[in-house]
């Protein structure tokens, strides 16, 4: 009886250790994979059309979802912001509220979340399926390095697209806020823009947002290509990888956002 309970406790501890070891091993593999991608990324710039192709698939094709969601988020911000600000008689500050919340937080974060589910999952699916149908192995047999030929261009395509998409998201969001605030509700147009320009600093607010979206771009692209490359080469395995790409990307984006925000916007 005692022996049995002792052995079940040991089993429990072993399970915890097993999961931890597994996770650490995968993390280490991901870190080595990241280094490999960086080492072999020379080709994705020498043969630039590979990267341009990936920018088309992950950047240009995400334009629609980014622009539409940005517009609506800006419009909602305008409406909710006005609702709250007019209670304190400062509805002219609407422009500040919309612009600051978009450039600092919502632009990079929401654009990255959308990018992860629109482009990240597609990257994982493509690489995972190439692995499942043994195309990656075939490339290796033909002395073509699959990381240099397939993975690195996809990674850099994502890294380049992400800051541009985030900037587009913020810009169209500000326009959405302008549509609702000034055109629909009737906040004074001059105050809307001048107060916005008075409080939004380029280096402090806009540039920090760009830095954020660049970091998110690296994280999401790395997770997407790694999960695809590491996929179990079956139909089930690829679907599991896609699921993990979306979940891990979302968690990484939100956690990184907290870390970056606490470094960038500490008081002052």
């Amino acid at each position: 009886m005692v022996e049995k309970s002792v052995s079940s406790v040991i089993e429990l501890i072993r399970t915890v250790g097993h999961h931890l070891n597994d996770g650490l091993q995968r993390l280490g593999f991901a870190a080595r994979f990241f280094v490999m991608v960086l080492v072999y990324s020379g080709q994705s710039f020498r043969r630039l059309h590979l990267t341009i192709r990936e920018i088309y698939f992950s950047g240009f094709q995400s334009l629609l979802i980014i622009l539409v969601s940005g517009l609506f988020i800006g419009m909602v911000l305008g409406m909710q912001g006005y609702e709250t600000l007019q209670r304190y008689g400062s509805s002219e500050a609407l422009g500040v509220l919309v612009a600051l919340s978009l450039t600092r937080e919502l632009g990079p974060v929401v654009a990255a979340l959308l990018f992860a589910s629109r482009a990240g999952s597609a990257i994982t699916a493509e690489i995972g399926l190439m692995k499942a149908t043994e195309q990656l192995t075939a490339m290796d047999m033909m002395a073509v390095n699959p990381i240099a030929r397939v993975v690195a261009p996809k990674f850099w395509g994502g890294v380049i697209s992400m800051p541009l998409l985030a900037a587009l998201f913020s810009a169209i969001g500000v326009f959405g806020g302008y549509l609702v605030g000034v055109v629909l509700i009737g906040v004074d147009e001059g105050a809307f823009w001048s107060q916005m320009q008075g409080s939004v600093d380029f280096r402090y607010d806009v540039w920090n947002g760009v830095v954020k979206s660049f970091v998110f771009g690296v994280a999401v692209s790395l997770i997407a290509v790694f999960e695809g490359y590491d996929a179990v080469p079956t139909a089930e395995g690829v679907s599991g990888s896609i699921k993990r790409t979306v979940v891990y990307s979302a968690l990484a984006i939100l956690a990184l956002d907290f870390v970056l925000t606490s470094f960038m916007f500490r008081g002052l």
């Binding site: 059309h49 341009i52 192709r53 920018i55 088309y56 950047g59 240009f60 334009l63 612009a99 450039t103 697209s161 800051p163 541009l164 998409l165 900037a167 587009l168 913020s170 810009a171 169209i172 500000v174 823009w193 916005m196 320009q197 008075g198 939004v200 600093d201 380029f202 607010d205 806009v206 760009v210 002052l268």
Partner: protein
């Protein structure tokens, strides 16, 4: 898809991205107005700066002529020392009065410069001698209360 069409769309996408960044910089942010071409620095000491912040505006007659670039505490005179960076297009006489004012009832605080009549103008690094501190609401209210209290018995 042909290579040319692909290049076209990607170029379109990248240009659109940079255009929106430019929009954020110039229309949303203050890149166009914050950086004055040539500037000079003045120092002003205040007993109390209230809620003045670094990057706060310096205005004269309501027009932004510069920015507050540094605020520090002088441990010897127990005063706040502010550094003002002023656009060198604007020259101010030596007896200019600097005061901390508030935009609106609860708005942001800024430094107002009231030009005097002196012949000599400020040079870079000069100290603004005449300053007036921020109005602290609590002190104002307590002053009012004391006045009321001292008036109190007479009225009866």
């Amino acid at each position: 898809m042909s290579r040319k069409l692909l290049d076209l769309w990607v170029g379109f996408f990248v240009l659109l991205g940079f255009a929106s960044l430019l929009f954020l910089a110039l229309r949303v942010g203050n890149l166009s107005s914050a950086n004055f071409a040539e500037t000079y620095q003045l120092t002003a000491k205040f007993d109390n700066i209230g809620g003045l912040k670094v990057r706060g505006p310096v205005k004269s007659a309501g027009v932004v002529v510069g920015r507050v670039t540094e605020i520090r505490f002088d441990p010897e005179s127990y005063e706040a020392v502010t550094t003002l960076t002023i656009d060198s297009r604007y020259r101010f006489p030596k007896d200019t009065f600097a005061s901390i004012l508030t935009a609106g009832l609860l708005g942001e605080q800024y430094i107002g410069l009231d030009a005097g009549g002196d012949e000599k103008m400020f040079k870079s690094g000069d100290v603004v001698a005449k300053t007036q501190s921020a109005v602290v609401l609590e002190k104002l209210i307590s002053q009012f209360m004391f006045n009321k209290a001292s008036e109190g018995p007479d009225k009866k």
